[in-house]
Symmetry: C2
Subunit: 321 residues, 2 copies
Amino acid sequence: MQAGEVGERALVRRLARHFVSKRNALGLMDDAAALRFGDAWLVASVDRFARATHFPPGMGHEDMGWHACAAALSDLAAKGAEPLGVLVALGVPGEMDEEPLDAVARGLAACAEAHGCEVLGGDTKPGADLSLAVTALGRAPEDELLPRTGARPGDVLAVTGDLGGAAGGLAALRRGDASLAERVFRPRARFAEGRAIAASRGARACTDLSDGLGSSLHQLADGIGFVVRSEALPVSPLAAKAAGHGAEARRWALQGGGDYELLCVLQPSAAERVGLAVRAAGGRLTPIGHAVAERGVWLEQRGQRSELPDEGWEHFRSPQA
Amino acid sequence: MQAGEVGERALVRRLARHFVSKRNALGLMDDAAALRFGDAWLVASVDRFARATHFPPGMGHEDMGWHACAAALSDLAAKGAEPLGVLVALGVPGEMDEEPLDAVARGLAACAEAHGCEVLGGDTKPGADLSLAVTALGRAPEDELLPRTGARPGDVLAVTGDLGGAAGGLAALRRGDASLAERVFRPRARFAEGRAIAASRGARACTDLSDGLGSSLHQLADGIGFVVRSEALPVSPLAAKAAGHGAEARRWALQGGGDYELLCVLQPSAAERVGLAVRAAGGRLTPIGHAVAERGVWLEQRGQRSELPDEGWEHFRSPQA
């Protein structure tokens, strides 16, 4: 079968079968790897972007650099790590001018600096299309690593910040309204929130929402299930502003990607304490549902449950890819 | 100007101006970055390869995986680090079949295992051409990091192993003789040698010979120069076997890339001791010349010095790129 027919996640599962990692405490299916390094964890993650398939039309080169860097850093934030720096592998078409490359570099540098870290180095080679593979390196204290799986029935689901702003901003951009472009093009990794969640020791699992809430819930649901209360979703005011009607904003909050908020699963007795810790760190944590023994993901609306399909962004398969 | 006209090294220098790294002890122009991590160094390096521009025709997909992994690991070996693992960003054309991708994964896994480390994770995304960006992660003890610059006049130049075998093997392959394919397609990073050189504390600088000796000497010559004695070069018996005449084998040893041996600069008083340490580690270290105050790189042959041009492999500019 061809890669384009298999879909990204099935392809990753297939390739992962060839690898056995005893050192990576998070396992190969997490978005980041964690290795014991002295008395701490080295947390590392790589994210690859190509101009033709991953960036919306009209996005500038400086924003491409920022976005690729922020996406890689976001995976570290979701593990409770603090960022140290990034390495960047650039694939550059030979006919590309130097100026847009300078812009990519400026975006990478600005994003790293905004997150308190640095571009440490990289590799630049000819490529058929402009591509960026950003490897983010970070550090987490010994007992404060947040895995992706480990949720138990009864646990509380919670998200940082608000949802749907990036999807709403993208919809606005497509209508020619650039007022929300910053939210779409220049996401920020939630390091303060991730560190607060990890240090509270009340979370059993965490991931970032790069692909959208619905998709991430399906990835976290490893042998269990989740019920999300629609009324509890912190729909972004930006999404509400960009949407034609409330249902559209809610759909963006559920299925839109690119928000880079954190989705975590909390021990019920710790949920309130973790929320206060995130608030003390300058963030916000909203309970949106809970884990159940039955496998699946459901949306609960006015007392009725409906299945929430696994419809987030998936490369190779999603129509834009 | 277009990227293809600028050349790889000038492009990297241009892009590096946008980055300020206070944490990377090796500086942005080294092949690897080193960060303080607890009481040791985290050493990290990324290398990018694309099928269309970086691999010789006839190279199998398993070998592509091995080669990309070995090249990234080699940069760690040259810094005196021990390898922990690699992260891999794959760009995959949608029409590519799963089987060759499996082969790439097998090659990556086999190479990591052969070097005592692991594939820790990665990212797989659609790409216009098959590409691999491999990030290698390693660890070096506090006082044993090998920089790329720091040579002083009078220092001894030395290389591990022998030279020209990869270029000779490639020439043989082009004639239809695959007997040296292993040397070309499956290089090994010199970790035992790199650790021995670093632990001896007698080296001032070190790099790997991915791009060839001539090119690497020009990169090490930061404000000083080097004289290489042609008669001292440890020409590979494989190169001698593949060459039509002795001069061809010697040219491969000087300018051929892909050997992944280590080139180091030793304090004169420590040269013999470092050589013995490398031998004790199962390797070989051959003095091939010395550093001089005058800037430049020269080849000394029968008492005559001639300039050694900077003619190693450079992507974007080299004719095959």
